[in-house]
């Protein structure tokens, strides 16, 4: 697309984006709700989005699907009072809806499969009913204007005249960063155009390309995005991405995953775990004859005999050699 058309496209999307931002009052309500209260809290929402991220990665869905799903979810939650027990159904139906719109048929998995892999408790008919409700309430037909839309456009603008720059400014990396940001609820308030621009600028600063930075200023002026707003979201983005990139592993409070194994393996697991023999330990280098009465006593597992067989030249057995279980 040539530069002029790109700018026009940007403008058009910019004007549309208002329709696709979740209601602010709704988002505030969620943020102020306490965990374990009667409503959805920010943590609940974030956990659900994490789940959706996991599922969309597993099924190999595109970033578009994931971003669209999160957008639908946020808009729905901001609009309707959802009970926490229905949250996972809402989340999965958003994902399914998004997948149906954005994925080619070959990649699409059925609702059944989504439920099975996602280890959900509801049925496929529950899922399709919820999908209808969501689509209806959000007047959802085919797509939405999301930060990803802008990201793609901005990326093309930034590449501009020289497509060789693709190596330097990687779209995949930007998409991954966007996904990381969306997992945090605070970014749902941001305007898609601003969020995407903040992300792009963050990456361009990292690769230190002056002229690409110029391009972004140009875009900013074109869309009339306020400096303050861009700055505000820029800081947030930087913080979020430094967490994402840190080597420290984070374990959010996720649901414990279900490990279902076949009967044979389960039997196998049970029988192998009880194998301590019932012969008492014979210490090397000495057997105190007066201890021969112990042979009737059951010193079954190794650990006990380690500490009790210290007689003679048996040696000292450090306790840290105990089996860890």
């Amino acid at each position: 697309m040539d530069a002029f058309k790109l700018m026009k496209e940007l403008r058009a999307n910019y004007e549309q984006e208002g329709y696709y931002i979740p209601k602010e009052t709704g988002l505030n309500l969620i943020e102020s709700t306490e965990q374990n209260g009667s409503g959805i809290s920010a943590k609940c929402r974030d956990a659900q989005v994490e789940d959706l991220w996991g599922l969309s990665s597993f099924f190999g869905y595109s970033t578009q699907t994931f971003v669209l799903a999160v957008n639908l979810l946020d808009r729905f939650l901001a609009l309707m009072r959802v009970q926490p027990k229905h949250l996972s159904c809402v989340g999965l139906s958003c994902l399914h809806l998004a997948a149906q719109r954005s994925e080619p048929d070959a990649m699409l998995s059925s609702g059944h499969e989504l439920i099975r892999i996602g280890q959900r408790r509801f049925t496929a008919s529950d899922l399709s009913r919820m999908e209808k409700i969501v689509a209806e309430k959000l007047h959802f037909t085919s797509s939405a204007v999301t930060p990803l839309t802008f990201l793609h456009l901005y990326h093309q603008v930034a590449l501009g005249q020289s497509p060789s720059r693709k190596e330097v400014l990687s779209l995949e990396k930007l998409e991954a960063q966007l996904k990381a940001c969306l997992r945090c609820m605070s970014f749902s308030k941001a305007k898609p155009s601003v969020l995407a621009l903040a992300l792009l600028r963050h990456e361009i600063k990292a690769i230190q390309s002056e002229d690409m930075l110029e391009m972004t200023c140009h875009v900013q002026r074109h869309l009339k995005i306020a400096d303050g707003e861009l700055q505000y979201w820029g800081e947030r983005v930087a913080r979020c991405l430094s967490d994402y990139a840190s080597p420290r592993c984070s374990r959010p409070n996720h649901r414990k995953l279900l490990w279902v194994v076949s009967r044979r393996t389960a039997q196998n697991l049970q029988s192998s775990s009880c194998c301590a023999p019932d012969l008492p330990t014979i210490p090397e280098g000495g057997w105190d004859p007066s201890q021969s009465e112990d042979s009737s006593e059951d010193l079954s597992s190794g650990e006990e005999s380690l500490s009790s067989s210290l007689e003679g030249e048996g040696g000292y057995f450090p306790l840290h050699l105990r089996r860890r279980r």
Partner: protein, 467 residues
């Protein structure tokens, strides 16, 4: 004394595969022995008074007389002969067992050789040959020892004798010597599991009490195992010997002697290669884990050894290996883990993609183990790249839906451990796949071009290959 004509084996087909156990339609050969052939006439033993009925000073001498009487062996294959005498011997043996358990002061120096003699006469015998090469220890019923009613009491008696308070190894060692132990070890090949159980206890006590025989016993056990692994692959007593070894290993002094380390590497690890591993795997795994608890530095050679002998065609064995590996990982030290994580997870990655669902399932279940998970987490940057490709591939391609669900659990765990790396790997995987697809397409196009060329060539009438 083999029995009547054999009936032709009937083969029962189940799913097209004949069941081995049904093939044994022919009757088992009886356990006759040349021990009994010389006894043409019936055996007569003069009944002796009961020990409790005799005053204390006379008891030791009566004891010796009874021992002497019990040296007579009876043929149990002939169920009708000498019934009265067999019963007499049985009750005498019973009496001896009780006597040894409760009495004080009965054990004179003379008793020792007589006891050993009586035990030797009864238990040391040539074992009947196993029914056929087709004896499958897992499926077929073992041939039980016919003279068990007497044998059991002899073993019971011997054990109580060894465990008795008055027992003095310094006297006994003249009679319980290397020759005795050698014959004892040969008996471990008995098909009767009850006999092997008693033998296990007997040898355990002897090992414990006779320090001078320990090295010899260890050496002989080594020989048995080595012959088993490299020559015959037949020996019924491996599990029992390993149980005894377990209690010996448990008692090793630190630092471990070189002899013991050699034993681990040269004997225990190769034991894993035998076909009948399932019969003694639990005991073998226990021994290995005990070794590693004693000396963690042995972890690397052990795991490398297991990986070297990893089963390639027997899935049942693979599942056993995976179980053993998990037990080893349960006790591994983090520093040792880092040394072997790469070859280890390469193997696990192969197991996880195995089309045999039990193998895949067992391997995936490692991720349910908290300690292993913590080790993986600490080293996720090394482990994730190794596992990623096969996990991702089987999530799309495996035939078993339960496996796909488990893979999700594992991938989810990885996603949470290290999101950046995970995203990077996903992106690389996808671009690799695209590149591969492109190459495939190019190759197909090339073939198509060649085909077209071939057609064109065929159309030329002079058949000259165009250059």
């Amino acid at each position: 004394m083999s029995s009547a004509a054999t009936t032709p084996p009937s083969v029962d087909k189940v799913d097209g595969f004949s069941r081995k156990s049904v093939r044994k339609a022919k009757q088992k050969r009886s356990q006759s022995s040349s021990q009994f052939r010389s006894q043409g006439k019936p055996i007569e033993l003069t009944p002796l008074p009961l020990l409790k009925d005799v005053p204390a000073p006379e008891q030791p001498e009566l004891f010796l007389k009874k021992l002497q009487q019990c040296c007579t062996v009876f043929d149990f294959m002939d169920t009708l002969s000498d019934l009265k005498m067999k019963e007499y011997k049985r009750s005498t043996l019973n009496e001896l067992v009780d006597y040894v358990t409760v009495s004080r002061g009965y054990l004179t120096e003379q008793a020792y050789p007589d006891v050993v003699k009586m035990v030797s006469y009864n238990i040391f015998r040539t074992l009947p040959p196993s029914d056929s090469n087709e004896f499958d220890p897992e499926e077929d019923e073992p041939t039980l020892e016919a003279s068990w009613p007497h044998l059991q009491l002899v073993y019971e008696f011997f054990i109580r004798f060894l465990e008795s308070q008055e027992f003095q190894p310094s006297i006994a060692k003249k009679y319980i010597d290397q020759k005795f132990v050698l014959q004892l070890l040969e008996l471990f090949d008995s098909e009767d599991p009850r006999e092997r159980d008693y033998l296990k206890t007997v040898l355990h006590r002897i090992y414990g009490k006779f320090l001078g025989l320990r090295a010899f016993i260890r050496k002989q056990i080594n020989n048995i195992f080595l012959r088993f692994v490299y020559e015959t692959e037949h020996f019924n007593g491996v599990a029992e010997l390993l149980e005894i070894l377990g209690s010996i290993i448990n008692g090793f002094a630190l630092p471990l002697k070189a002899e013991h380390k050699q034993f681990l590497v040269k004997v225990l690890i190769p034991l894993h290669t035998v076909r009948s591993l399932s019969l003694f795997h639990a005991q073998l795994a226990y021994c290995i884990v005990q070794f590693l608890e004693k000396d963690p530095a042995l972890t690397e050679p052990v795991i490398r050894g297991l990986l070297k002998f990893w089963p390639k065609t027997c899935s049942q064995k693979e599942v056993m290996f995976l179980g053993e590996l998990e037990e080893i990982l349960d006790v591994i030290e983090p520093t040792q883990f880092v040394k072997i994580q790469e070859p280890l997870f390469r193997q696990i990655s192969r197991c996880v993609s195995s089309p045999h669902f039990q193998v895949a399932e067992r391997a995936l279940y490692y991720w349910n183990n908290e300690y292993i998970m913590s080790l993986i987490e600490e080293n996720s940057s090394v482990i994730l790249p190794i596992m990623f490709a096969s996990l991702y591939r089987i999530s799309k391609e495996h035939w078993n839906p339960a496996i796909v669900a488990l893979v999700y659990n594992v991938l989810k765990a990885f996603m949470e451990m290290n999101s950046t790396l995970f995203d990077e790997l996903t992106a690389t995987y996808k671009s690799d796949r695209q590149r591969e697809k492109k190459k495939e397409k190019e190759r197909e196009d090339l073939w198509k071009k060649l085909e077209d060329l071939e057609l064109k060539r065929g159309l030329r009438s002079d058949g000259i290959i165009p250059t």
